[in-house]
Each structure stands twice: as C-alpha cells, then as structure tokens.
C-alpha cells in the first residue's frame, strides 16, 4: 500500500524498475477520498475485514496492493481492491459514494439490493448474474458476502454500473482506470524498437487525440488535451536513446526520459484505422544527426506485418472477444411450413413467435443487436439465412425449430451443432490460400482472405459445441428435454455460419401434449428465458477466452507478463 497517490508513475517493462524521482505528492490516507463519513466507516470495516481475511479466512483472501483509479470531472479517487479466491474484487461499500448508490430495503440473506435513482440492482451471493435496471449482466465471478461485507469482481463496475448510472462508466481493467462521466482519456498503445542506428516509439492513440510534443532538457513531453492518459506499453527495453517512459496522469502526458546517445527527434502522425491516430517518434543518435529519418518509411521489412497486427484488418479472421450481435433464425416460413402438429399447429408459426419474443428480450435485457433471418411469414433459403447472419456481422447464431417424430410419444428439446466430418475433407485451408487482391475505395488494393462457404463453420465447431452445451444446460432447467440433449448433425443452415452456431428443436410438435405447450405463452417465455441465460453465459465464456476448466479463470492473468499494468505497486 505504498503507492497511494502517485501522479507520476514510472512505466517500464518491469525489468530494473526504479522508483520515480518525482514522487512529490504526499500519499493521502486511505479514507481521505471518501466524502461521506458513512462511506469512510464502511471502508475501514472493509480494511479490517481485509486484514481478517488475510490472517483468518479459510482459503485465504489477501489484501491486494493494487487499487483502481476513478477519474471523473470532480477529480480522482481510489478504490482499494482485494483478492478473494484469486479474483480481484472490490467492496460494494466502497462503490456506494463514488457511484451514488444506496442500499435497498430487501434484507433477505444472500441478496443485496442497491438503488440508484429509480434503478434497482439485485446481487445474489454465489450467482454470477446480476440484475441491473431490469437487465441481466454476467460477472466474471459471483459476488461474495464475507461477514456482512459484499464484494464484487471489478468487472461489476464496467458491466453492471453503467446500466444504472446516469453518467457513462467505463472500466479499463488493463490499466486499472475507471472513467466516470464525460472524461477524455485516450488509450495509448506504445511500442518501442530499434531502427538501425536510431529507434522509433510508435503510439497508437485511440480515440485520436492530437499530442503536443516538446523537448525539455533530457526529456520529451508528449501531452494530450485530455483528462488522463491510459498507457499500455509492450516489449519495452531501455537503451541509450530512451531510458524510460513515464506517465503524468494529472497533466495527461507522457514523459520520455532520453538516453545519453540521443541527438534529435522527428515526429509524424497519421490517421489510422478505427478512429485511431498513429504517432511515430523517431529518435536519432547524436552522431547520426546528418541523416534525419525524413525520407521514405524506414520501417523494417519484418516489422511491418507485426506492427500492422495492432490494427484491425479488413478481413478479420481473429475470433471475436465478445458478443455484440446475435442472429436469431426462425425455422422454415413462407411456402415451407415445416412440420405440423396433430391439431394443425405449424412449425413456422411457433418458431417465428418465439424468435420475436427472444428478439425483444435480448434487445431490452441484454442490450445486444439482434439480426432476424426473417421477420414475417416469408420463404428464406437455408444458405440465405446464414448469409444474413454473416453480412450483419452477428457473433452468435441460433436457429429455432420444432421437431417431429413418427412415434407420438417422442418429446423434449434437442440442441444440434454441426458435425464437421462431412466437411473437413474439403480441399484447401479455411482461407482460399494467399487471399485475393481487391480494389478498395480511395485507390489501391488490399489482400482479402476469402472463407469458403462450406468451411465457414468449421473453425467454430469447438465454440459451437460450447454454445450448444450452454443452451442445453439452460433449457434443461426449464423445459422437458429429449434423451438426446446435445447432438452433432450435418445441418445445412449451420454450414455457412461464420460464427458459433446451434440449432434448437424446442419440442416435438408431433406429440399432442407438446403441441399444446409449444403455443402457450408460459412455455415460450421459459424457452426465451433459457436462451437469454445461455447467451449471457456464453458471452461470458467468449470474454474470458474459454477457460478450460475453471469457468471463471484466466480473466485477470496478464497474457503478456511484460505488459505493464497500472497502478505500479
């Protein structure tokens, strides 16, 4: 807990880290930031508990030296974090004052109700899904109640609080920043590398904030017209041109501590993709001053591709890291009625009815974009359905159907995903191999990877299996299931889907009892609720990169050990 307030923090690769010589501000007491006595008291209780946990708690929580920095128009404050069960958590009591929360009246054990204005948030101990203002949000790990104190994982701040807050709330977990309200904090992804005798510091500024670069003695100041700077520095090794990169949060600037060999610098800036600004600062040693790197791009041949990896490419074949849009495919339609129940219920009507309910629920309660492959009683081919999902950049595909059997007793829901055995013999890689050169707007060409239709789903089969499994697990709690809960089959509508995809047969319309169920609003609501929960859970899996066994693993572990995470301990 030595680095309470540390406006100027050294940032380096973690090798040979030294204390900043400008640690000029006296660290305030931990409770100083809390304006209300109540919050201060709660914080002290929280700290007392931390110590208790550190010494006595079974399984051991430990005080975490890290804390979050909340940046708002009113200034900064710090949120202490603790580690419980290997997860970085924050006490709910510490969130009350900064985010204007107050406790609700519901005092039932195992539940915590929080109010903000008229919005209600309900947390349940050991349930990773929180209800906030009528929407469901998943947390990376469930809230924990320890001796009357509630702890939530830090992603609660980024996921649940925005739903009830009247100001934007953004969590930058990588840098430990919480942006509250209308604050301007550009993210600066920095890379430093040698370019022959000189070197280059490349800053990708998102969104594009124009920096002001000035030299003062042995430093370069890179100042942004912003409230703070969110720096992510990768692979930094000090050399004789640049010794350190420091962040001055209060002045929203970077300080580059120059080395002995430094002679001069040039800076270029260019707009980059996705609204970023690409700033390149070339450092030239004193001896080589005669050859300023003004002329053609001296970018090393091998480096171009690597650097380009920071930018989103046009044909992005990397798997998405969250779910933003979901494609819902109501089976059959138009001239294709699907199967028909003994009382005349048509599959196409059942699937459309459930799809519309699901669409409304996903939009309202999850805030995701919904793509319907048909919104009325129209005939749409199977490949067209996958194409609609692909073209609208859906991240997840669910096809809704009702089943039939010649045996009247057959009943229950079944979930399918693609069996790849019929498709993995297709010649060639997933991509067409080498890509195709396509002219782009504004001149020039760009190489695009083309994915074969027949192989689009292949690279998602593992994810589709998890998706189908998740759907089956959530439906199982709410509906009768067929003995064949999850199966693989070569279903045409799934073949071309360029995203995790599953087809659910909600029930057997050929079974008289199920025919009645399938049209009842209560049953359809149960289906929608199950699918909604499975979307929430699957999104969580995607965001965590599909941890193998621990459903809440990996999230906090830095994937790159050299990556600098703020705050500096």
């Amino acid at each position: 807990m030595t680095a309470w307030s540390h406006p100027l923090r050294p940032v380096d690769s973690g090798v040979g880290r030294t204390e900043s010589p400008w640690r000029d501000t006296a660290p305030p007491a931990p409770g100083a930031a809390a304006p209300a006595a109540r919050a201060g008291r709660a914080r002290w209780i929280g700290w007392a508990l931390c110590i208790l946990l550190a010494t006595a708690a079974p399984g051991g929580g430990q005080p975490d030296p890290e804390r979050l920095t909340v940046i708002s128009r009113d200034g900064r404050r710090f949120l202490p974090t603790v580690t419980i069960g290997g997860r970085t958590m924050v006490a709910v009591a510490d969130l009350m004052a900064p985010f204007g929360l107050r406790p609700g009246d519901d005092r039932r054990p195992g539940r915590l109700t929080l109010l903000r204005g008229t919005a209600v948030m309900v947390l349940t101990a050991n349930d990773g899904i929180v209800s906030a203002a009528g929407r469901l949000e998943s947390l990376s790990t469930p809230p924990v109640e320890r001796r009357g104190i509630w702890y939530v994982p830090i992603d609660f701040i980024g996921r649940a609080l925005p739903l009830v807050s009247d100001r934007p709330v953004e969590l930058r977990s990588r840098s430990g920043l919480v942006l509250l309200g209308d604050v301007r904090v550009p993210q600066v992804a920095a890379r430093y590398r040698r370019t022959g005798p000189g070197s280059r510091l490349r800053l990708m500024v998102t969104p594009a904030f124009e920096p002001r670069i000035e030299r003062a003695a042995d430093r370069l100041f890179v100042t942004f017209e912003a409230d703070a700077v969110d720096l992510v520095l990768r692979d930094f090794f000090a050399d004789d041109l640049l010794r350190r990169v420091l962040v001055d949060d209060r002045r929203a600037r970077l300080e580059l501590e120059l080395g002995d060999a430094f002679g001069s610098y040039t800076a270029t800036r260019a707009p980059a993709l996705a609204g970023s600004l690409d700033v390149e600062i070339d450092l030239t040693p004193a001896a080589a001053r005669a050859a300023p790197p003004a002329a053609p791009d001296p970018r090393p041949a091998g480096g171009a591709e690597e650097e380009g990896a920071e930018l989103p490419t046009l044909a992005d074949l990397t798997l998405p890291s969250t779910i933003r849009a979901i494609a819902i495919d109501p089976g059959h339609g138009g001239t294709d009625a699907g199967t028909r129940g003994p009382e005349g219920t048509l599959e196409k009507d059942v699937t459309l009815g459930i799809a519309r309910r699901l669409q409304a629920a996903v939009q309202r309660r999850l805030g995701l974009r919904v793509v319907l492959t048909r919104s009325g009683d129209t005939t749409v081919s199977l490949d067209e359905r996958a194409a609609i999902a692909n073209n609208n950049r859906a991240d997840l595909f669910i096809s809704l159907h009702a089943n039939a059997s010649m045996r009247e007793t057959a009943s229950g829901a079944e979930v399918f995903y693609l069996s790849p055995t019929e498709y993995d013999q297709e010649p060639g890689d997933v991509r067409t191999g080498g890509g195709e050169r396509i002219p782009v707007v504004g001149g020039g060409t760009r190489i695009l990877d083309i994915v074969r239709w027949e192989r689009a789903q292949l690279r998602f089969v593992d994810r589709s299996a998890r998706w189908a499994q998740t759907v089956a697990e959530e439906l199982r709690d709410r509906l009768p299931m067929s003995p064949r809960g999850v199966q693989q089959a070569p279903l045409r509508v799934l073949v071309g889907a360029n995203m995790p995809a599953a087809l659910v047969e909600i029930g057997f319309i050929s079974n008289p009892d199920q025919e009645v169920q399938l049209v009842s609003p209560a049953f359809q609501d149960a289906v929608v609720e199950g699918l909604l929960r499975s979307i929430v859970r699957f999104r969580e899996l995607v965001e965590q990169g599909f941890p193998a066994d621990d459903p809440f693993g990996e999230d906090d572990a830095p994937d790159d050990p050299e990556e600098i995470r703020r705050p500096v301990p």
């Binding site: 045996r407 019929e422 067929s482 003995p483 693989q488 070569p490 045409r492 047969e505 050929s510």
Partner: protein
C-alpha cells in the same frame, strides 16, 4: 500288387462321387429352409434361384429416439451396384409390423450409381419429400437409414449422396445437408444416455422379420 491298386482306385472313385453328391445334391436338400425364408421386398425372389445374403436395414425405435438395425435375408448379387439396388428396394419397402420405416411410403428408387471412389448416388422419387412429416429428428432418420443401409452392407461404399427426382437438393425438408455424400452415422443407432427410456430393448427380434 495290382489288386491293391484296383482297390485304391475304386475307393477313391467312391469317395469322389460321395463328395460330389453331398456338394451338389445333399447340401441343398439338407438346407431347404434357406430358400423358404421369404425376404421382404421383391428383390429377393427365391424363384430366381440366386443365393442369399444377410443385410442390416434401419427402422425407427419404439421410443422414436434412435434407429435400430434389423438383419434381413436378401438376394445376393455379385455386382455391388445390383446389390445396392436390392438393399435399397428392401429399405424403401413397407416393413412388416412392428417395424416402422423412417422413409415416407411410396418413395421409389429411381437409380443408384456406385462411383469408384466409394461414393454412392441414390436417386429417389419425390415422395420422399412430399410425404415427409418434417423435423430434424425424422429427417435424420430418413437420410441415415438410406446412408447406413448402403455403407454398412456394401464394403465398397463409404458415403452416400441422395438425389431427388434426378437432381441434387439442399435438404429433404430443411435440415440435413444433402449437398454432399454423407458418411455412415453410428451415433443415431446408439441408445440415448438416459434413465427414463423404456426398459425393454427397442430393437425387434430378428426372427420376427422372417
């Protein structure tokens, strides 16, 4: 010496005659039941005098949750394509009770081709689409009863593509991809993992079918 030789020659001749009689007369008489076992379907007409083979055909289980294999005696054909036709016609024919066929009644075999690379092309009449009740479960059973009947009974067939009225189709009724030859599916034969299935085995007794 010469007498011994004659005795040996006579004994050898008698043995050869007896063996020939057993082979060509006795055995067929001893096992006449083979011919009287009337196989279903017109393909295995015993009057053609052809020998018989046992093939496994596929039907819907009692609970409607899986395919069950049922061994039937069918006419043996030396030519794999002719054998495929015999098997398919039996699979398309109405089965005796209590077997339930997953193939819509009236579906006729228009043609069958066996390609050299192990793929078979089965051209069926449009009744297989028009008479289909729909649903993924039923469509899987329809398609894989045909695919499995060929891949499990004819060694040279690895995969089967179903055509309808002579043309390639996306699917029969909106689910199973028929744009390519399909391989054998054994999963559909296996009992689902469950406790509440009927205790008795759904597969019919093979003897009942003869």
């Amino acid at each position: 010496m010469s007498r011994r030789t004659w005795t040996g020659k006579i004994a050898f001749g008698a043995a050869a005659l007896a063996a020939a009689w057993v082979l060509f007369v006795g055995l067929p008489r001893w096992y006449p039941a083979e011919e009287s076992a009337a196989p279903i379907g017109a393909a295995a007409d015993p009057s053609t005098g052809g020998t018989l083979t046992v093939a496994t055909l596929f039907y819907v289980s009692d609970d409607g949750m899986r395919l069950v294999g049922s061994p039937l005696r069918l006419a043996r054909r030396a030519n794999p394509t002719a054998q495929a036709r015999v098997i398919l016609e039996a699979q398309l024919a109405d089965p005796p009770d209590p077997l339930l066929s997953p193939i819509p009644p009236g579906t006729a075999l228009r043609a069958v081709y066996l390609a050299e690379d192990g793929e078979a092309f089965v051209d069926l009449s449009e009744e297989i689409v028009l008479g289909h009740s729909g649903g993924s479960r039923e469509e899987l059973f329809t398609v894989y009863s045909i695919v499995n009947a060929l891949t499990m009974n004819i060694a040279s067939v690895d995969a089967v593509q179903i055509l309808v009225d002579g043309v390639e189709v996306d699917t029969l009724v909106g689910h199973v991809d028929l744009q390519r030859p399909l391989k054998q599916n054994i999963d559909l034969l296996e009992a689902p993992d469950t406790d509440w299935m009927p205790a008795e085995d759904a597969s019919p007794d093979p003897d009942r079918s003869s």
